[in-house]
Symmetry: C7
Subunit: 105 residues, 7 copies
């Protein structure tokens, strides 16, 4: 990567997330399925790392629920991230939420 | 899943439902067909577990009618749920409804 | 189905219909073709059983004309129904209609 | 069909037409091609039998020009009709038209 | 065709054109390619015979430029015509045009 | 072509261009690739010959940048032209442009 | 290319970028993968060379993040560039950005 450190900004409705390490699911046979190669139609959680100025649904550090199939990936400073759009988020897990649903991550 | 309990909130028009156990249909040969693997084009009922702030059509605990084909699934605290959007709901069964249609679940 | 009787309400533009028994057409060879397995592109009549609050085109008890191909089906209290949307209705047969077209069902 | 005579009304933009008997085209070899099985991309004429309240382009008895491919058909009192939508009509032949185009059916 | 002469009117944005006889192009091998079976993507000229009341781009007698592929055809009084929509016209050749482009048909 | 010279006018957003002779690209093996049969996804330059009254992006004589794949062609007075729409133009090269980009054709 | 130097202007929302030389990624086996032939779904960075008057998200010299698959390419003065549209940009790296995300290129 380029030496002089250029700060990166997400545009508009983009949400950059990092797959949770323990988000790997164990297939029934115990084989580790990395989050991004999850069964299609199976939603997964990831942590918000950066987001565009138009994003309202979540904040940096929140966990968000999305479908991992057919996703853009990007590598920044050696780390792999997934590029999402706000409308692709189904749910958010965060201390800020009142616990109305009784569901916890 | 992560230990510290983060309350989960559904976004916008999302409706999280749990398939009714007895919603499994018996194929003519008596084989149990799990709700989610229902014949295409066959609508099924499920119970609302959580919903986004924009949802008007139903409330938590209601039974809703939807098509099970091509659905997103998510596992929370070991339970399997189905992620829907309000516009995909065809009907609602709830004590709140006046019994105008004469149809009961 | 669940024992405590929950009244069912159709949502928005949904129209629940029941295929007319005698709506089965006899193929030229006299074989009974059940309404729902009608030749594609062939419209059939059915009776309105329930409808959402936004439906204006018909009322419960009217006969409506629609295309049976690629329809959602639902079973309520052991009866099979077809789930339609108002925009899929081509015509209505009802005593309320003046007999302008000279066509009768 | 059901005995008590229910008057039929077309909805919105629907136009019910009856193929003209003589509208059958003779293929070059003299074989009779029924109107509805016309060569694709070949427009045909038919007579308006009934129309929804939103239809402005024609009136009952007019001849209308449309593409016969991929059409809905319906049988009423033993007669076969074709169900069209107003936007699918290309031209109208009627005494009401001034003869501006110099074209006559 | 039916005997009593019903004047024909085009609807809305329809433009009825007649392929120019000499518009046939000679393939390199001298074989006559009728205008309507022109190579795809090759535009052709034809003469306006009739048009709907919403058409502004041309007048009866003008030459218009369009793509002949995948067109509706109609036969009126034994003549073959092509049915177009105004938005499918690319250019018009007419005495009314000032000769700004320096291009002539 | 027809003898009496009818001036041709482009309609609406159409832009008629003539491929630049030297716009042919030499494939690595030195084989001449005519502009119109350029590699897909490779943009080419051409000169504006005529344009509809709604076109703002360029003027007659400008060079415009567009994708040559899947284009309409038309022959006028023995010359071959390409028919474009304004929205398909990516860039314009013209003396009128200030040289802000530092890029020259 | 043509001798008289015509200044080139991008239109509307176009963004012309030049792939960063070091943007080539080494496949695990050390084989150099040119930026434009990047694995699908893998976003890459490039430098903005020119942009249309409607572009707000970036400025000439910024680094922008986009998906390299299925892109238009253009050659100007012997250099290869990629033609993008503003809405296809996911993120921008530039000194102008405050370092809110903590991510640097």
């Amino acid at each position: 990567m380029d030496d002089d450190k250029l700060p990166i900004k997400m545009l508009n409705d983009r949400v950059l997330v990092e797959a949770d390490d323990d988000a790997e699911r164990k297939s029934s046979g115990g084989i580790l399925i990395p989050a991004t190669a999850q069964m299609a139609k199976r939603l997964v959680w990831a942590t918000v790392v950066a987001q565009g100025q138009n994003v309202r649904a979540c904040e940096i550090g929140d966990k968000v629920l999305f479908s991992p199939d057919d996703r853009y990936e990007v590598e920044v400073q050696g780390n792999d991230y997934i590029m999402l759009r706000e409308r692709e988020l189904h749910a958010v897990a965060s201390e800020r939420n009142e616990s109305s649903t009784g569901l916890y991550l």
